[in-house]
């Protein structure tokens, strides 16, 4: 018999379901389906699972949107699932307003649409170089040869680090996002913090115009430097937030395009029309929301008629919100001309993903460049077994394409 943990007594049995979002059954080829399977099975819109330390899951767009906006109940502070102690308090996303606003304000100017537009040439150059590296071959592993490298290279550039360090960063991020061995994870976390420590110390001595330099040189309202731990944890947030999410969104997008000649055609037709291209990208953002976001309940309370206890964990699955039929017309259909598209892929409210404009631009430029060099492509029938994973960010460790 498998171990089945008990759920706390304050939770009525009809709200309890056995659901492990890290576990993708062998017959499921797309981890997103474990969430949509819940909806199809008629799971209650707010339910509790005793797995992974026990946590709630919200399934309605409206409840998810409310939770995003209500940090007085649903805090981002120490919200890890399963609960992990100690865990660095990420700046600014691991704290709630008003403290959240301090580091948010430091980062915001570097991620506005205006700032991101200035990065276009660099992104374009990177995309062109990577794609031309394999375009003449007849195929590639898209995840390993493109989707992992592109955002990591972008991260190095934004942090004022040389391109030569790409292999090192690919290795530490791969371990960070994929390893399940506790000893390897602990050593990896130490390594990341050592790298960040050295980086920020160097930028303190020799500041440049990069993000790391800006963060380390920022001063609080009284003109004093910020606590060193906060600076390092801000670097850690940017590392955690910007790599895996972009990689996996790209894997989903290319996986879809590889199987849809119509969609490839539609995007090719829009190569010279940036606003139509962007509109279509927005729909791919809706349908391919890879993040399942965590919150922690701040005090015993009732929300939507359900009793919550202080420190209860909550998961907000963006993919489910994005296919809620009370908000989206024909939510399961990918309509590249969808007119009204209030997806929550980047969250809502004060913690909305600050990197959303960069992420979208990375994906847009990648796709434009790819289609210019590789207009037609398809899935290689020979895919690696067990290349899918669930968890807070869902995706694929490998995706073989051919042309």
């Amino acid at each position: 018999m498998s171990f089945y943990p008990q759920s706390p007594v304050h939770i009525p049995s009809e709200l309890v379901l056995d659901f492990d979002f890290f576990d993708v059954p062998a017959d499921v080829s797309d981890p997103v389906q474990i969430w949509h399977g819940l909806v199809r099975r008629g799971a209650p819109p707010i339910f509790y699972t005793p797995r992974n330390g026990g946590h709630w899951v919200f399934l309605r767009y409206s409840d998810i949107a409310e939770a995003y906006r209500n940090h007085e109940i649903f805090s981002t502070h120490k919200a890890q699932i399963p609960p992990l102690e100690p865990y660095p308090v990420l700046q600014p996303n691991g704290v709630d307003p008003p403290q959240h606003d301090v580091f948010r304000k430091i980062l915001a100017p570097m991620f506005t649409p205006l700032a991101v537009r200035r990065m276009t040439d660099g992104l374009q150059h990177r995309a062109e170089g990577l794609v031309s590296g394999f375009a003449a071959k007849s195929g590639c592993d898209f995840v390993k040869e493109y989707a992992a490298k592109f955002p990591t290279g972008t991260f190095l550039e934004l942090f004022g680090l040389p391109e030569e360090r790409l292999p090192e960063f690919l290795r530490i991020s791969d371990t960070f996002f994929r390893s399940t061995d506790p000893d390897i994870r602990a050593a990896n976390l130490l390594e990341i913090f050592e790298v960040l420590e050295a980086l920020f110390r160097e930028k303190e001595r020799n500041p440049g115009s990069d993000i790391a330099s800006t963060v380390v040189q920022s001063r609080d309202a009284d003109g004093n430097p910020f606590p060193w731990t906060d600076i390092i944890n801000c670097g850690f947030l940017l590392f955690v937030a910007g790599l895996d999410t972009v990689t996996n969104t790209m894997a989903y997008v290319w996986r879809y395009l590889a199987t849809s000649p119509d969609a490839r055609q539609k995007f090719r037709d829009r190569l010279d029309d940036p606003s139509a291209f962007l509109l279509a990208i927005e729909e791919l953002m809706r349908i391919n929301a890879v993040s399942n976001i965590y919150r922690r309940v701040t005090h015993d309370c009732e929300f939507k008629g359900v009793q919550f206890r202080r420190n209860d964990r909550v998961v907000l699955p963006n993919t489910v919100a994005n296919r809620d039929q009370s908000v989206f017309k024909e939510p399961q259909t990918i309509d590249l001309d969808r007119k009204v598209n209030n997806h929550v892929t980047f969250g809502l409210g004060p913690h909305r993903c600050i990197g959303s404009h960069l992420a979208k631009r990375e994906i847009m430029i990648s796709l434009q460049e790819w289609l210019r060099q590789i207009p037609e492509f398809e899935l290689d029938p020979d895919q690696d077994a067990e290349s899918v994973f669930g968890g807070p960010v869902m995706g694929f460790t490998s995706l073989k394409l051919r042309w």
């Binding site: 100017p109 506005t112 649409p113 606003s275 007119k339 009204v340 209030n342 997806h343 929550v344 409210g349």
Partner: protein, 68 residues
């Protein structure tokens, strides 16, 4: 017609700017909405309406007339 933004609610998604750059842009500090043309011409009405409907925070509103 006039378009108004609730700045307490705007979180800088910039969907409005993407959909109707004639009327909306975003600032360089926080990336929040800047309404360049509050009293937009009728030919932009459809685009402004799409921007209003696509704001994920519901921060935008169209008001009749020129007052507030």
């Amino acid at each position: 017609m006039r378009v108004i933004a609730n700045m307490n609610v705007c979180q800088g998604h910039a969907r409005c700017e993407d959909l109707c750059p004639e009327v909306f842009s975003t600032d360089a500090i926080e990336g929040k909405v800047v309404i360049e043309q509050p009293e937009f011409p009728p030919e932009l009405e459809e685009k402004v309406r799409m921007a209003v409907r696509n704001c994920p925070e519901g921060a935008l509103r169209i008001a009749k007339g020129t007052g507030v």
